[in-house]
Symmetry: C2
Subunit: 153 residues, 2 copies
Amino acid sequence: MTKEPVLPFTDALVRLAHLVQQVFGEVGREHDLTPQQAQLLCLLVGGPVGMGDLSRALHLEKSSLSGLVDRAEKRGLVARVRDSRDRRACHIELTADGTRIGVLAHQGVAGRLESLAGELPQDQRDLLATAIGGILAAHTAHTAHTAHTAQNS
Amino acid sequence: MTKEPVLPFTDALVRLAHLVQQVFGEVGREHDLTPQQAQLLCLLVGGPVGMGDLSRALHLEKSSLSGLVDRAEKRGLVARVRDSRDRRACHIELTADGTRIGVLAHQGVAGRLESLAGELPQDQRDLLATAIGGILAAHTAHTAHTAHTAQNS
DNA sequence: TATTGTTATACTCTATAACTATA
DNA sequence: TATAGTTATAGAGTATAACAATA
């Protein structure tokens, strides 16, 4: 028999989301970054990313992303690099400063989340990650479907 | 033996947080609310809440909350009610309009999250909620501890 | 024509500091 | 003095619409 959770399922998800946001805020502040800049830098630690992909990853309109990148560029954290094959497009990459701070921020976020989950045994953690993976997949499928439907209307 | 998750644990948490934020954004838009207003209204569906509690629940500085409540009040969604015992304090409650929209928004968010989790069997869902509950408890304990430490420094 | 990204504009959101009113 | 909340200010974040450059 499964133990009843203390929190309703959806409330748990909402509060977890709050917690993650808060972690980005706290870690960002340690490095004088806004939460959004911290997320941007963490994403770019994996390597340069095009504006289109960034827009999708962060769920931002392209104009909003332009502004976010503008401010990060003005602070010397990222740089725009024109795509040689498609001269309309550009990739965003970390500067030396941005890389240093981005790596620290990424470690800070991961470390803090790991530490909060410290009580969970590894198999529970895997279970959680797998379950979340399923939810994300469901969302991706749903998004693709609605996009397809909209396209055909 | 436990199946290895596709996503690293912390990445799963971060992406889940994104997803929840996006859900608030989408649901809010359906009712002409900003994501923050949607969260505020969803919180108030449970009954009036004082500014202090709201500030803690939303992780907002009191001045930021003042502005959020100002705009919601200006749009006729919430009302400030003075506390009769402590005349400095006030409670925020939903207006008739705010209640109508708040209930719809709350149902929209819960429904969408439930639907995304539709693939998960109930026991997995309970497990997820329980695991998240543990993480939240760890964070609460940590916050209380750091607050206590800061107070003594 | 369609796509990639920017600019212009108008809000909303947020924090810090200083303030008012009440306890 | 301490606490609950507001106001003033400044900057960041966001979306919509119109635009430029390239495909």
